[in-house]
Symmetry: C2
């Protein structure tokens, strides 16, 4: 491929705790340190979550601001993508950091089940997050947890709520959402190409599916998230 492979690094995520793995970077300075290591190893996008002191996920704009500040200093040129995901807050608090005008932010456009609850992305919240991203010129990375989310992203793109070329991440392997299934992965790509030929995509396999999905991703010419 002539296009360089974009490696997207999700340093922390919102789920793992120090009690699961003591190496998980939780504080902002730990996150900056490990992102810098990934950046020097070739990662070009940092997908960022932040945590409270006690490790619980948060959407606190002040913490995001410190992280963005540190990444700009230590990883110059790296694309910074902030998470607006629902594991770190509810309703509009999920978009409070968009005024920091990061390069990118994640955007879920539909709802689905998570291991023990509903991942709620009601239509009015999706519209509001998309409008904030337009205001601050933040490029959304669509998080597709299911097939209809690809159709929804295309609808938002066509009517201007998401301007420009779509960038979609397929998320697979979350319990009670879409499993890591190779035929679905291929159909996701085929559907996105059919509906939005200009779109880019990447894929993330969660937990034990990470390596498998990365391999499919590289083989199919998408970007990977590690």
């Amino acid at each position: 491929m002539s296009e360089p492979c974009i490696i997207c690094v999700a340093i922390t995520g919102s789920v793992p705790q120090k009690s699961d793995n003591p190496a998980v970077p939780i504080t902002v300075s730990e996150q900056i340190e490990s992102t810098q290591a990934a950046f020097e190893a070739g990662a070009s996008i940092a997908h960022c979550h932040v945590r409270e002191e006690d490790g619980t996920p948060t959407s606190d704009p002040e913490r995001f601001a410190r992280l963005v500040e540190g990444l700009k200093t230590h990883c110059p040129g790296m694309i910074i993508q902030l998470s607006t995901g629902g594991r770190s807050g509810a309703g509009k608090t999920r978009g409070g950091m968009l005024s920091l005008a990061p390069d990118m932010a994640s955007l879920s456009v539909g709802s689905n089940n998570f291991p023990t609850r509903v991942y709620e992305n009601p239509p009015d919240l999706v519209d509001w997050l998309a409008s904030e991203m337009r205001s601050y010129e933040v490029k959304p990375e669509i998080e597709a947890f299911d097939l209809s989310h690809i159709f929804q992203a295309v609808a938002l793109n066509r009517d201007g709520r998401i301007p420009g070329k779509l960038y979609v991440q397929f998320v697979m392997g979350v319990k009670n959402a879409m499993p890591a299934d190779r035929e679905v992965f291929d159909f996701y790509i085929r559907t996105l190409k059919r509906l939005a030929p200009e779109a880019s995509w990447c894929a993330a396999g969660v937990g034990r599916h990470q390596l498998e999905v990365n391999e499919w991703c590289i083989a199919a010419g998408g970007h990977t998230r590690t």
Copy 2:
């Protein structure tokens, strides 16, 4: 095909009101009358919702009991399927009519967006509805509003939470959920056959997509809902 085509009739649904269409049967006696007409015309499954006096959807077991009673009298042999859908109630009230032990009941196994809100089917509610259906020997019709719902139905079937052969309905054309898309329809069938070769399926196109989806359905050998 040697298998007879099962026509599934949804007399009322939970959305239309008399103000939209004065011909919509709202009261229990109107519902029985119009179901009988469909039964005499060849429909074999009645998919049933009930309404309050003022037309608002409800899950009231007493109303369902009167409807079941009337259908058993006027449509002998017709398969009665009661809706546990979330437009008529929240949480466990959605399954209060399962103790009537109807032949079938609808079962949503995942969450998704609806036109203005989240259709919430949290994992613990799905488990509870499935367990009530097992207790009263009610056959679930899985309502698949998105692709992952097919995977979820298969998972529930494999671990015994949904015993027997799966019966899945693909629902297409609801705004903010899966649109009526022919390639997705074909992929739904292919995926269900791959994961659960014994399963049966039907499909419902909502609103203006009803006729189109019925045509795909008949062409592909599934059952249709009118």
